[in-house]
């Protein structure tokens, strides 16, 4: 083992780190006097090239590796997820390019890439210290991205709220991790599980489970740790919110599932109806049920589309937690399918909101009135994204739900013990249809104010949105394309 070996395994992340420096340097040295749009264009180009480079490195790596006792683990699945994260970063950059929320273009793009690096390391970590460090790198970048609209007080407020909640959650997480280390004498997840095996559920382990769930509950915005999400989504510049809702979610869910299934192996317990055994699955079941119910019911009364998407994200986190607690190979791949398609969809939805916000000055429902006339292509994309979130076939959201729910029910085919959670999820997703339809009603049924001009969609954004919408349709019609990587 030498440093060259580390560099080889971490080539994608390294490439991205170099890109960060280049973006900063180009913006600082060459583009200082140019217009914001010009700087965004050039900066985005450099960032996207860097992401492509990183993706190429990911694909051309040979041999799986596990460096420094789980600090950096790569296998085909982590590779694929890293490419997904890079793609999400590219889409985020594309929908940011028309942004007018900042003059600090280089810093903004660099922070998006830094967050991506953090998330990529997170995916590769099987060591609780490394998990914590990469999570912090990602989180700190996201806090700043939230605060990026300096002229808007709500943006600062949102960032502060996000930061304070995030700091708390990090403290909880670290506390739980320290207990885990104390119990097992190791920071490596499989080793922790091995040394905990057979000891039963001692109270310290229970505390460690609960604090870990709390820590990640904040990250994935699950009830009752969700309070930051609506404010952060609403106040943050919309592209930042899009990245928080998509990229951060993919990595957080992957790592949460990894910690629980690898690190707490043997302490699962059971959330089966009338067959409850304590462990981490019942904890997750409670959090999931609360998220689905509260997220969906609260979303109904929202008038801001970004807040609506935030509450719907809470509800979706609830569905995804079902995939975590089912804990079988098929539920694991169903979870990844769901979270990836969700990320693509929600990124697209936020992309549409970005454009509408720029053109009409707000993200209230009424700002979407008559969108189908003012921007037919844009509203068609919105239709695809929101219907996919609602779970209408043949879009990716529906197939994702079908995979996820059938895998969850299938874990106990004998007694259908987890059916109660799935019934709750399906009933709640029927509720969600109502509020998604409210937005679409504005776009397709109501008329815009008289002489409202057509909305010009920036070409880069339109390109990203069309690509995302096509992906959502394609993955719904032919889910096998994605499923075979998971």
């Amino acid at each position: 083992m030498n440093y060259l070996e580390i560099l080889r395994v971490a080539a994608p992340e390294t490439a991205l780190a170099v890109t960060v420096l280049m973006v900063l340097a180009v913006d600082l040295i060459v583009l200082r006097e140019e217009s914001v749009a010009r700087r965004f264009g050039t900066g985005a180009l450099v960032s996207i090239l860097g992401c492509l480079m990183a993706a190429v490195f990911t694909f051309t790596r040979y041999g799986d590796a596990n460096l420094l006792n789980g600090m950096l683990v790569v296998d085909p699945q982590t590779d694929f997820l890293k490419v997904v994260l890079l793609a999400l970063a590219v889409f985020t950059v594309l929908i940011s390019t028309s942004g007018k929320f900042t003059e600090h273009v280089g810093e903004y793009l660099a922070l998006v890439l830094l967050a991506t690096i953090g998330l990529m390391f997170l995916i590769s970590a099987e060591d609780i210290l490394m998990i914590f460090i990469s999570l912090e790198l990602a989180s700190l970048s996201l806090y700043i991205l939230t605060a990026f609209n300096k002229r808007n007080a709500r943006s600062s407020e949102a960032a502060l709220k996000y930061f304070l909640f995030g700091g708390m959650s990090a403290a909880f997480l670290l506390f739980g991790f320290s207990l885990l280390y104390g119990l097992s004498g190791s920071t490596n997840l499989p080793q922790i599980a091995a040394s905990l095996a057979g000891r039963g559920l001692d109270p310290l382990l229970l505390v460690a489970i609960v604090t870990t769930v709390i820590g990640f509950g904040f990250k994935v915005a699950a009830v009752p740790f969700h309070l930051w999400a609506p404010d952060a989504y609403e106040g943050a510049p919309t592209p930042s919110a899009a990245f928080i809702a998509s990229g951060s979610k993919v990595a957080s869910f992957y790592i949460l599932a990894k910690i629980l299934t690898l690190g707490f192996a043997g302490a699962e317990g059971s959330a089966v109806w009338q067959g409850y055994v304590s462990g981490w699955t019942p904890v997750i079941a409670v959090v999931a049920a609360l998220s689905m119910v509260l997220g969906n019911l609260t979303a109904i009364v929202q008038s801001s589309v970004k807040r609506l998407l935030a509450y719907s994200a809470i509800a979706h986190a609830g569905y995804m937690l079902l995939g975590v607690l089912a804990n079988t190979p098929s539920s694991h791949s169903a979870l990844l399918f769901y979270v990836i398609t969700y990320a693509l969809t929600v990124l697209g939805a936020f992309g549409v909101v970005t454009v509408v916000e720029a053109a009409t000055g707000g993200d209230a429902m009424a700002n979407f009135a008559g969108l189908s006339r003012r921007a037919p292509g844009l509203s068609l994309c919105l239709l695809v994204f929101l219907l996919s979130l609602a779970g209408i076939p043949p879009l990716a959201g529906f197939i994702g739900k079908f995979f996820l729910f059938s895998a969850v029910v299938g874990t106990d085919a004998e007694h259908l013990g987890l059916l109660w959670l799935v019934i709750l999820a399906i009933v709640m997703s029927a509720v969600s249809f109502y509020y998604y339809l409210q937005v679409l009603k504005q776009a397709y049924v109501l008329d815009a104010a008289a002489n409202a001009p057509a909305i010009k969609v920036p070409p880069a954004t339109m390109f990203a949105l069309i690509l995302l919408a096509a992906l959502v349709i394609l993955l719904g019609c032919a889910p096998g394309l994605l499923l075979r990587f998971l």
Partner: protein
Amino acid sequence: MLAWTIYISFIGVLMLMLLPREAARAARIIALLTAIAGCVVAFAGAVQQPNPGIVTTIVKVPWIPALGANYFLAADGISLVLVVLTGLAAIAGILFSWNIEKRTKEFFAFYLALIGAVYGVFLSFDVLLLFVFYELTIIPKYFLIARWGSTRKEYGAMKLALFSFVGSHLVLIGLIATWVVARAQTGHASLDLLELSKVSFPLGFQYWVFPLVFIGFGILAGLWPFHTWAPTGHVAAPTAGSMLLAGVVMKLGAYGCLRVAMVLFPEGVRMWQNEIAALAVIGIVYGAGVALVQRDFKFVIGYSSVSHMGFVLLGLATLNTIGLSGAVLQMFSHGIIAGLLFAVVGRMVYDRTHTRDFNDLQTMQLGRRLPFAGVTFVLAGVASMGLPGFSGFVAELQVLMGAWKVFPMATLLAGVGIVVGVAYTLRALQKAFYSDTVAADKFGHDHPLEPISVPERIGAIMLIAASLIIGLFPGLLLNWIQPCLNSPLFERLLKGGSM
């Protein structure tokens, strides 16, 4: 070949989307040609079908191997009947919405998307695929009503969409549970209707999953007490919308009940047979009774749909060959007749007079001023009452004959429903067209009403002819339906029946 009914409709949608915004006339013509092409394909495919008794595969390719789902389109006689119905209803709907001027191309794009999805449901023999098409109908329905409807359109549209969505989610719960149980039992994942129909599900499972799926589909079939979307939805919808809702969308629900719920869970049906029959009869009598006291012309037709769909559900509950074939025939017959009735109310009367209130209509002497509408309504009303010679008669007669063997009491009550049906039809006919009340000249009697246009005449004649032909030669459709019911697919369902 029949698969092209689906593809043609969606190609039509694409062509309409590419049209410039102002090209209303081109949009109409494209929509009409698409619908005609679909109908021709439906007829040709149906006639070519070698043996309607067996399920003939049209296309079957793996779709999602992990779930055992195939892209599996096929047809048997029952599908053929409904596909042909869809073809006819699609053409008629377009002819009766020739006067849509507001955002014409979008109207017809949603319309054709709905038609394409309906064809898809009737031709799917993979449960997941059927579900996909079934849900695909919800969105066009919502926009057609919310955008182009009339009375309380947004409320009616949302109500319909939510009822449909809740219903289809009940089905989804049942579907997932069925998939899991079948996989545990057979050892491999499958969503193929033909394979699933061979699995013997445990009785305890059938006991709860059958009502779930049956009610899920039944909501869309106007099953009492989940019918409340139907009157409001029909009234709020534009004419073509209500024609499709009553004509084919309600049939989707009944078709799902028969094709999925009853075929997969035959023991479940037997456990709940009496309850279904009871709900069906309540629907028949209640729908007819409420139709009798409406002031709004369109509500009369809306509630009459609930009543007539009750016959379909009653026929399904009989579990004997004659009752089931009556039920399928009634789906066809009601699809034609309800379409015609809504066309008269919505297009011929409301679009010209801008009122549907009987108190206003009875001062207008429409029978004299719109003789074609009057005559059409007389014929449609006669067909709706179930007079011999029209399709409604053979269908309802078969349902009642089937039901008489199993539930004599319920059959008598359903007979009462028919009598009330005669009453409300005659009342509507008299008040709307042939009243001699003379009142204050509030609406300008001598103000000439726009004459009945050519598309309307063609549409009306087409639908009346269809109802008459089936009334006089019911064998045309029964030759498709009955061999199906004797096929292996329905064997488990009918073997314990009283025939």
